[in-house]
């Protein structure tokens, strides 16, 4: 009887460990898109050049109407966006903390992100 309880506890612990591993090891595929979008009649214009860097890694530069893919593990990340004009002159640098849920595929529109004034941004996407 006592043993059954212990076995159940062990199984519960293993399941929890599994869930924890899932959360800990989940890799999100993030597509950063730099294109004009319409939201409720308002048009957000995309910048000519955007430099994207997560967690201080090397910057990836994309141009107007382009997109880049990032693989991120873990839920909280530092995002640094560098907006530049056609000639490559930096116009502004935006730093934000983004929080990811467990979604596997997340798509982000950079213009919308830039408009968002909040310091911490929660992102979600498709689970599979």
């Amino acid at each position: 009887m006592k043993r059954t309880v212990f076995i159940l506890i062990l199984i519960a612990l293993l399941v929890l460990l599994g869930v924890w591993m899932f959360v800990l090891g989940r890799q999100r595929t993030i597509v950063m898109r730099n294109e004009d979008i319409d939201r409720q009649g308002i048009t957000y214009e995309a910048a000519q050049i955007v430099g994207i860097s997560f967690d201080g890694a090397e910057e990836k530069e994309i141009t107007y109407d382009d997109a880049a893919i990032f693989y991120l593990v873990g839920s909280s990340h530092k995002l640094k966006l560098r907006v530049a004009d056609e000639d490559g002159n930096t116009l502004r640098v935006v730093e934000k903390t983004i929080k990811l849920d467990l979604s596997k595929n997340i798509s982000v529109d950079i213009p919308e992100l830039l408009e968002n004034k909040e310091e911490v941004i929660k992102l979600t996407g498709k689970m599979w």
Binding site: L14, F22, G25
Partner: protein, 376 residues
């Protein structure tokens, strides 16, 4: 009895009982110079391969301790491990958490398969090896059914990179990018040119400790007793069948983990073939290491892995340099793998018969007279 042997007798005994490893040392020593590989290269290869294969080979120990011979049924565990890896790839769980999760997923599958295998083997006492070999083929069929038809259909697997374009079934090869060599590089260490998969070695060391400890438990003692005489063990009240199942279950679970470790090093999973030769190669390795069907130790495992894989690495090149055909090496390695298993099985049968004869011989007249008297 064994104390008063002369030195030459001891030496002779040593050579007889270690004939197989010695033979392979000789073959390897001859083949290494012919192959023309550098020492650095060979050392690196050996270290990699010890990391890659030892865990799998170690999983064979428990059934041997329990007297069930070489567990060809370990491929069942290998399949369970692969199923775990398919899932974590689909869920894109990467890094060490990914591997741990794959192990967690494989465990219940391995346990079920192990119970199945153990129950079947209990009905085939004395013919465990052939039975488990054939059972491996049978479960391979079930595995293919599950992976080729159910996954992506009944069992949700969504990633387009995994599922065949027809909508169900897993592709022939699965890239394990997210977990490639993460155990190996967990604790990075490089000595000169040679990188050492310290993380994997650490896990293997843990398993060795587990086995050493396990042999000291009541369960381990029961297994040793069963291995020697099932009837006596039974009449002493040891639950023979249950214990045998447990040994197979543990072996299967460990084989599952072993396959995960093997594949994280390889970095790609060949969905329908990776497990195929796991059993045969692991068994050949442990036999070359000097183990027999009824006796195996941890040193046998490591010696075996080194010798077997040294031959693996060296023989294609040696074959090419000698005869101009690399295929010869491939042929040679298959030939050796199956040949060594066949020899081991024949030797085992022969030795068992000899032992029985020796046992009865002691009952004969002439010797009965010479028996030592009981001490007062």
């Amino acid at each position: 009895m064994s104390q008063n042997l002369t030195f030459t007798e001891k030496l002779k005994n040593f050579f007889i009982s270690n004939a197989v490893p010695i033979l392979f040392v000789v073959i390897t020593l001859l083949a290494v110079p012919v192959s023309g590989f550098s020492a650095n290269y060979l050392i690196q290869e050996m270290i990699t391969r010890i990391g890659r294969n030892s865990f799998l080979v170690l999983s064979l120990l428990l059934p041997i301790i329990a007297g069930m011979g070489l567990n060809f049924g370990m491929v069942l565990g290998a399949m369970a491990g692969q199923i775990g890896l398919i899932f974590i790839t689909d869920w894109s769980i990467v890094g060490i958490p990914g591997l741990v999760l794959a192990m967690l997923i494989s465990t219940p599958i391995s346990i079920l398969l192990g119970i199945l295998c153990g129950s079947v083997l209990n009905r085939a006492k004395g013919r465990e090896m052939a039975t488990s070999y054939i059972l491996g083929f049978f479960i391979n069929g079930v595995y293919q059914l599950v992976v080729l038809y159910f996954m992506g259909g009944i069992i949700p697997v969504k990633s387009p990179s995994l599922v065949l374009s027809r909508g169900y079934g897993i592709r022939n090869t699965v890239a394990l990018d997210g977990v490639r060599q993460v155990f190996d590089n967990m604790i990075p260490l490089k000595i000169g040119e040679i990188s050492i998969p310290l993380g994997t070695f650490f896990i293997i060391a843990l398993l060795c400790l587990f086995i050493l400890w396990f042999r000291k438990t009541k369960l381990g003692q029961d297994m040793r007793a069963i291995a020697q005489d099932m009837k006596v063990a039974q009449s002493a009240g040891i639950p023979v069948d249950r214990t045998r199942i447990i040994s197979i279950v543990i072996s299967t679970v460990l084989a599952g983990y072993g396959q995960i470790i093997f594949l994280q090093n390889m970095g790609t999973l060949s969905t329908y073939n990776s497990h195929d030769q796991t059993g045969v190669f692991s068994i050949a390795a442990i036999l070359i290491g000097g183990a027999t069907v009824s006796r195996a130790t941890i040193p046998n495992v490591f010696i075996g892995v080194i010798l077997f894989h040294m031959m693996f690495v060296v023989s294609p090149m040696a074959g090419k340099n000698l005869i101009g055909q690399a295929m010869l090496g491939e042929y040679f390695r298959q030939f050796i793998s199956y040949g060594i298993i066949a020899i081991a099985l024949v030797l085992h049968a022969w030795r068992r018969q000899k032992d029985k004869e020796m046992e009865r011989r002691s009952l004969r007249g002439v010797k009965a007279e010479k028996q030592p008297q009981a001490e007062k």
